[in-house]
Amino acid sequence: MNEMTTKSAVKTPEAGEATGNVKHMNMIEAINSALDNMLDRDDDVILLGEDIGYFGGVFRCTAGLQEKYGKTRVFDTPISECGIIGVAVGMGAYGLRPVPEIQFADYIYPGLDQLISEAARLRYRSAAEFIAPMTVRSPFGGGIFGGQTHSQSPESIFTHVSGLKTVIPSTPYDAKGLLISCIEDNDPVIFFEPKRIYNGPFDGYYDKPAKSWKGFDEAQVPEDYYKIPLGKARMVTEGDAMTILAYGTMVHVVESVTRAKGIDAEILDLRTLVPLDIEAIEASVEKTGRCMIVHEATRTSGFGAELSAMVQERCFYHLEAPIERVTGFDTPYPHSLEWAYFPGPVRIGEAIDKLLSE
């Protein structure tokens, strides 16, 4: 490890607290394992959501947990996101640590008032007499032919809200360690699971056969409890040519594009958007002098705009070229043309060429 990585961004797989068996897990299994560990360790942890009980969730993230922990700790809910998040606020006021699942991030909007005006503000408005220690899990992102209502990436709605933390993993190992940190956190956290990479890392070449997580180090996951701290980015690759800031599915896409193009890029997987690992970002941009930001969400007022502003404010005199932003287009996520929307290898490759040509 070089000096910078020890100071700030951490490499993966890292030395966690976990001991015992390490197993191959895809991201779904890793999330299930995190929930299993937390239900076992803390009687106040409770899971609720549509189809998560007997059936184990439409993506199977809660499979087997109701059978193991009982119906009063893992249960199905009415189809009401407002209700799911609202009752979770009340459960938190009682002293529980609820982990509601919103079946798709696209469905979270009916619950926004309870999230934004209630969960996120409760500690502040009660001067910490009441808190909302909930983790809202929700699959997000496209690339599964989900159409516009099963594909969105609404993270910037939540990063804009004071009092919410937003966490997005990109590997099974991180998904488990981050999720455990989220559940133990005493503030409300939005935990977005990039569903395109639930079963395998996606390199952006949709016309090639899908890969599974088999054989990837990042899918070697301890069965026991371990945590990855919130607010810490992960160094995916070290490099000198440019810094690429990404999270979720896009981490894998940019990695494959830079590898294919032979670019010596330094890729940071942000993992937590709020609070952000600004030290890691600054250190990397100051080293490389070039910065590209990649996300799948729509462009205008996306989280990339915030990242771009911060890099400009803090690293301006180290920049050798304008910051590049690669994002989804400002359209709904179309069904048949989803790969035209998706910021894939062509869009990323073009931005890399532009960033290096300046």
Partner: protein, 426 residues
């Protein structure tokens, strides 16, 4: 036939209109007011359907003769009746003083609950002291019934340096975990699913605490109301929903929440939940209904929706002028009277109270409020410098201050030092 050649009848949009506007003569004689004592009282553990007739009735106990009647008479001892009377009168004295304080510029905002005191004070008396209250914004009576210190309330209203909410909340948005009184939100009806969640949590832990929540009839139109009742019915949650039907939501009469079609209590029927419709200006009926629902919840017999039929005697808030949209006669013509007067007259009829005692008590309470105001004013009034330090503005956004809020706190404190260089405090 119209121009398109269709002979279908023309559709017409119905937009509700209240019966009386400013200047109109008010006649409430056609309101269906049931006779006190005539409403049946089902067993607390009865099937919800046994309560359904009561959703279209009006549970009343106190008659025009100032006596208690019928099976809903809670048979309270005189001491309890006197403390309910005292607390309702205290709420009224407090409201009057605080309203004037706002007019004097000591704070930005105030909301009275005049005429609705029974729906919070007497309902709270029917609960256990540690049952969790999820209030709306007009439930100061719940706090006063639980003995909250007036000075604490006024500190909050003044957002001063002793405000334990650190000046962050709009006046009257109290919070007291010690008194099991949840933090008030300005967003309407959000407390309803939260109360259900609290009740579900309590039930899942095998605890004995129940939850009770309050909402105005206007806010029952929010989706949260539907979500909360659905969850409560689905999980048989030990929660009481108090709908305070005070006829007006700012300038919108109850018709805009659906009152032209059904009572608010009747919402319970669709959920298969127990429902009661009660004279909200009858302190004994309010107590009895709330106690019935609390006993039912505690016996795992499920949630109850109670409509408290009452009248908002004053404006919505200090920012409202009701003379601009409703007849000034309504308050005087309201057929259910005033809850404070009704309980007072009942106690007098019982030989347990006198007009002189009432007068002396009113004086004493006003003096008590005045003293509390003076005490609170030592800690400052809104906008006069005695606020919390700037850094507290950034605390409690999260449990720990992240770097970006530390940076912004430094900025806020620097701005203050630039504006007030002579004052190094902060």
């Amino acid at each position: 036939m119209d121009e398109t050649g269709s002979n279908r009848p023309k559709l017409a949009l119905h937009v509700p209109e209240p019966r009386y506007r400013p200047g109109d003569t008010v006649d409430f004689s056609d309101l269906r007011i049931s006779k006190p004592g005539e409403q049946p009282r089902p067993d607390e553990a009865a099937e919800a359907s046994e309560t359904f007739p009561l959703c279209n009735d009006l549970i009343r106990v106190l008659g025009d003769d100032n006596q208690a009647h019928g099976p809903w008479d809670p048979r309270l001892d005189a001491e309890t009746l006197r403390s309910m009377l005292r607390e309702m009168a205290l709420v009224r004295a407090f409201d009057n003083r605080m309203y004037r304080a706002q007019r004097q510029g000591k704070t930005s905002f105030y909301m009275k609950c005049t005429g609705e005191e029974a729906t919070s004070v007497c309902a709270t008396h029917a609960l256990a002291g540690d049952d969790m209250i999820f209030p709306s914004y007009r439930q100061q009576g719940c706090l006063i019934a639980r003995g909250y210190e007036l000075t604490e309330m006024i500190n909050q209203i003044y957002s001063n340096k002793a405000d334990k909410l650190k000046g962050r909340q709009l006046p009257i948005m109290y919070c007291s975990k010690r008194l099991s009184f949840f933090s008030i939100s300005g967003n309407l009806a959000t407390q309803l699913p939260q109360a259900t969640g609290f009740a579900m949590a309590s039930a899942s832990k095998g605890d004995s605490r129940i939850a009770a929540t309050w909402v105005g009839e206007g806010s029952t139109a929010e989706g949260d109301f539907h979500s909360a009742l659905t969850f409560a019915a689905v999980y048989n949650a030990p929660v009481i929903f108090n709908v305070i039907n005070n006829q007006w939501a700012i300038s919108s009469f109850s018709g805009f929440a659906g009152a032209e079609r059904a009572t608010f209590a009747a919402r319970a029927i669709g959920y298969g939940m127990a429902g009661l419709r009660v004279d909200g200006n009858d302190p004994l009926a309010v107590f009895a209904a709330e106690r019935w629902a609390a006993d039912r919840a505690r016996a795992n017999a499920g949630p109850t929706l109670i409509e408290h039929f009452t009248y908002r005697a004053e404006g919505h808030s200090t920012s409202d002028d009701p003379s601009a949209y409703r007849s000034a006669e309504e308050r005087g013509e309201w057929p259910l009277g005033d809850p404070v007067m009704r309980l007072k007259n009942h106690l007098i009829a019982l030989g347990e109270w006198t007009e002189d005692q009432q007068e002396a008590m009113d004086k004493e309470l006003d003096e008590m409020v005045r003293k509390a105001m003076k005490e609170a004013e030592k800690n400052g009034i809104l906008g006069h410098g005695l606020h919390h330090p700037f850094h507290t503005m950034f605390e409690d956004v999260f449990e720990e201050l992240p770097w970006h809020l530390e940076e912004q706190a430094d900025q806020a404190i620097r701005e203050r030092q630039i504006k007030f260089p002579e004052d190094p405090a902060e």
